[in-house]
Assembly symmetry: C2
Homo-oligomer: 630 residues x 2
């Protein structure tokens, strides 16, 4: 396996020796331009490749200065060593929608929660007759490692293991509060393989990254819908389902089942995975640990605990190494969970002097504002629409999902799917595109009602009422029409209204305005390729200068990875949590008013959306003119 | 139940309301004088009784000044409240053999490893909306208690428990390294019941005390042979048996089975027992925890570890509360175990400026010399003879055991059994008495050979060679002759020789002599009533002024209890362990010489036993004269 680092995305992936670079880039989710289908004919997929790109060259490339540099075609390049690749904007498909990746994913020194140490111990003698464990401790002390715990089942045959290995061993040491726990002993030097698992435990989607804890590299990844979905789309219905011991056991089991199924897809021996970090909202975390969550739903919305005890992942039924310790990012309140702590870690807003705002758009919407001195957060229920849930043709941002859409008045929607295959549904970013396009083509009004007269061919009456046909079944990958119903559209508008209302209200709570914000970080499970201008047009995001937005992707997963790779980040997570003030919106009388005002495209108060107001003015003036969003 | 404290023994026992004080005193193992059989006729069982004896009065009583104090008969006294009782020497049978109990069993403040806290929490509100655990932590913090761990299975329904209990709860908090672990939550105030278990995990005998952790009182106790005995009498054969996984599992299971059977005899709901401390030698401790002990037997005699990890007792199969933490006194080396750390704790020699020596006579003999600045220890294999093992009619110091013997030349042995019932065997102290008496009556020579011509009626040929009939079956409780064989006698002589040789050699190692010792502490499982002068005559103990000897009884159990009742003592145990220097005798060339010299009664070098030399001189001069040991 070779490591392929992709700029300007700062993504590292593992590629098999001899694999095609284009495939590797597609695998990483970057829409490389491949008009000719990778035959080396169109010349559109040019990139700059080096084993290591010097920092000065990289800076020039990032500034768009490509002079004197030789580019090559990804489709004609074979990966046969670790490489660094710069992909110029021209080589990705036109509507590339990643705005910026999290600007700072550099952890500095990698200092993971699970470390491996290779030791060659001096054998005991009558003069040096300390116990086997003391001999190990002495050697570790020389390396400034404090061994504070041992797992009994790992030392029961330690004496034999040490002597069979001729005192040449590798220890797996897991971080605990007061030092390291000895969780595995292997013969010889096995330090080369050191794997850990980071998991984003989402209400709708669970995503996992297998990390090489020596390098920080993502070895493999997997994601799937949370199997708990069959018992309810949002956290409130999950809480209701867990009202008795049987229901709680079921929920706990389904979360574990999803995680175990993801582990099965990671391509490594689970016994070699020896550390795990999860980030999830408070309810999901309670359910994973089998903790009765009922009182999070009832006023005053109290969780049992915010910082989970350190346990072995096995204790929950998670099938990795028996002694792999499960760490969980701390929650702040019933509706501001470890996923938000993870988001804040991913943004690094907690380190800066400037004030920023972070908006996480998931099944729950969470908003945090602040800087290095203070942090204030709130939450709202957004529903699963942005993750493709509760929407007729919705799906996760995975192969076959329509992730971007343009509507041509003549030929109907032009779309792009993840993996460039026949479409089977629409993911979050596609839905945002779709609603914005429907609106700018006068196919829906500001309330989201379909305007059949504008396109009577595509707008029809379906089982659930009026619907717009995005792709006819003849062109889909599953022989089913891909549609969006009026009910879907209302649902998406409610979702975006909840997020916007929470954001606006939180800023009002701290007596601030969007203009006071240095950065607006956007996190969420709707895929990485959201079209910012369309999200603003819809009224999901505030109408700000686009250069203030930073898209951090799955901040929950990034935060979990960050903690897995760094003791310091684990401490930072605890500090963030202490610093974060929680504002309870559910009892805030203004929330419903804000929500109602935001339940329009983009908002009842157009003054809050000056750029959208201009578009609407044009639309009104000439209702047959189609406006292309700039 | 009332608490009865007995002076000058400093023993506290629990007695049922309305019980007879004489019975309570007999139960405590004190041989109260009851010539008339407890009918109130002989007037010999007079004691001084008060609800609380003032310190000044107690001091007078201890000095033998009984003026102006009213005494009463134990057999005519009913226990109907907590009382303190002073038993004057005249009221115990003539040959009372307890020399001194451990002089200082006062722990100061009881600060047990398991504490219970009753909390009445303020219910959460929107303004005070911290999590349930944080609410508990906040309240504990106000009481200066640091809650550092929670057991997951104890908090899964915490939210419901708290609300069902109307926020009125009692917490069980178990000490861990960095604070307390929340291990149980009960509704209302349950602080009145707080039970912990102290166990002496001996090679031959396992003894358990159930303690009230609020008062320090012993609620009940039980002891039995270690069921591992069926696979070998001493630690070496146990190690051999544990040479493979099956054998090790068997050994581990037998130790646990013995402990569980003792727990069943303690008369309390095992779920209410929430803390446990064991003290055992290194091999026994390894076996209990299922740790492969093989390398303790092989040079250089290395244990896997000396300080066991904190685990739940349940993890070993011990049937007390699921979350009761098992603490184990730390060992120092393969043959100086946690039992010796416990002995040292019981003696308090580690606190004193004067230099003392501690001799533990069990299946293994261990000797420690030192003071507050230094401690040096060694070990030897003594065999199970002093606990009644490997001796034809040997038995533990329990009901029916002959614990003292006088031989009358005319009528044969006079004896006293524990519980004053018909004899069924002889315990360690009885065997010491018996050998000394056989020797002073010329029935054995200095090598331990029976002299048939001296008493042809009682000395006969049995299945195992020559034997002396102590009690004929017509008078025993099990219709079997109680005998001692020549093989038994050799075995006891070897045991005492090993202990004496180790003691002498250790002193030589530190360039000291018995005369340098301020105190000689004697610990051991042979019962509390050893006749010191007879033990010296036999050559088991050095020929020193009797006022230097302090008998601490089962120091291992005392040490375990002490730790269970005191966090400070747990720390002291760790400190003692760090301070203790271990001397390996098994590779010491002088040991075999010392052992050979000591394999006589009392020793080949009579100069080391001047008081015994006098007796032997008389015996030699007149081989028909019987010398009564003074």
């Amino acid at each position: 396996m070779h490591r392929v680092t992709l700029y300007p995305y700062y993504i590292s992936i593992s590629s098999e020796d001899g694999s095609c670079l284009m495939d590797a880039i597609v695998e990483a989710g970057i829409p490389i331009n491949a008009v000719c289908g990778g035959k080396g004919e169109c010349g559109k997929c040019k990139v700059y490749v080096k084993e290591s790109i010097p920092e000065s060259t990289l800076q020039s490339l990032l500034k768009g200065d490509y002079s004197n540099l030789e580019f090559q075609l990804t489709c004609q390049t074979t990966v046969d060593s670790n490489i660094e690749v710069f992909i110029p904007p021209a080589s990705v498909t036109e509507k590339m929608k990643v705005l910026t990746m999290c600007e700072d994913t550099d952890l500095g020194k990698i200092d993971p929660l699970l470390v491996k140490y290779h030791l060659e111990l001096p054998p005991p003698t009558l003069d040096d007759n300390i116990s086997d464990i003391e001999r190990i401790k002495r050697e570790l002390r020389n390396q400034n490692i404090k061994l504070s715990h041992v797992s009994l089942d790992r030392i029961q045959y330690l004496g034999k293991t040490l002597r069979d290995a001729n005192w040449d061993i590798t220890l797996s040491l897991s971080l605990r509060d007061s030092g390291y726990e000895l969780t595995e002993i292997e013969s010889g030097d096995t330090t080369v393989e050191n794997l850990g698992l980071a998991v984003d435990l989402g209400t709708t989607t669970i995503a996992a990254n297998l990390l090489d804890l020596n390098t920080g590299e993502v070895v493999s990844s997997a994601a799937d819908y949370n199997k708990q979905m069959i018992h309810g789309e949002d956290v409130l219905t999950r809480i209701d389902f867990s009202g008795d011991a049987k229901g709680l056991r079921t929920m706990q089991g389904l979360a574990v089942k999803t995680i175990n199924s993801l582990i099965g897809k990671l391509g490594k021996d689970p016994d070699k995975i020896r550390a795990m970090v999860i980030a999830g909202n408070t309810v999901m975390t309670h359910l994973l640990y089998g903790i009765y969550p009922r009182f999070i739903k009832l006023e005053p919305y109290i969780p049992v605990l915010n910082t989970m005890p350190l346990i072995y992942a096995k204790e929950l039924g998670i099938r990795i190494n028996n002694r792999a310790i499960l760490h969980s990012l701390p929650s702040r309140a019933g509706y501001v969970g470890g996923d938000i702590t993870a988001d804040i870690l991913a943004t690094r807003m907690y380190e800066k002097s400037e004030i920023s705002i972070m908006i996480d758009v998931g099944t729950n919407g969470e908003v945090v504002v602040g800087n290095k001195d203070w942090l204030v957060g709130c939450a709202c229920s957004a529903g699963p629409a942005f993750e493709g849930g509760e929407v007729e043709s919705g799906m996760r941002a995975t192969t076959g999902a329509i992730e971007q859409i343009d509507i041509n008045p003549g030929s109907g929607p032009d779309y792009k799917t993840i993996g460039n295959v026949a479409p089977v549904g629409i993911c979050g970013s596609g839905l945002i595109d779709l609603l914005a396009e429907l609106f700018t083509h006068n196919l829906i009004d500001r309330k989201g009602n379909l305007q059949q007269e504008v396109d009577p061919r595509r707008i029809r009456k379906g089982n659930e009422g009026a619907e717009y046909v995005v792709v006819e079944k003849s062109a889909t990958g599953n022989s089913t029409d891909i549609v969006i119903t009026e009910i879907d559209i209302q649902s998406i508008i409610r979702s975006k209204a909840a997020v916007y209302a929470a954001t606006a209200l939180l800023l009002r709570t701290v007596n601030m305005d969007f203009d006071d914000m240095d950065k607006i970080y956007i996190a969420g499970g709707f895929g990485n390729y959201i079209d910012l201008r369309k999200a603003i047009l819809l009224g999901l995001l505030p109408d700000m200068s686009v250069d203030k937005f930073v898209f951090i992707g799955n901040g929950s997963l990034t935060g979990a990875k960050t903690v897995l790779l760094s003791r310091d980040m684990k401490e930072q997570a605890a500090d963030i949590n202490k610093k974060l003030t929680y504002v309870e919106l559910s009892v805030n009388k203004d929330f419903f008013d804000e929500f109602s005002s935001a339940s329009f495209i983009p908002h009842t108060d157009l003054e809050q959306f000056p750029s959208v107001k201009k578009i609407i003015t044009v639309l009104k003036e000439n209702c047959n003119t189609v406006i292309n969003v700039p």
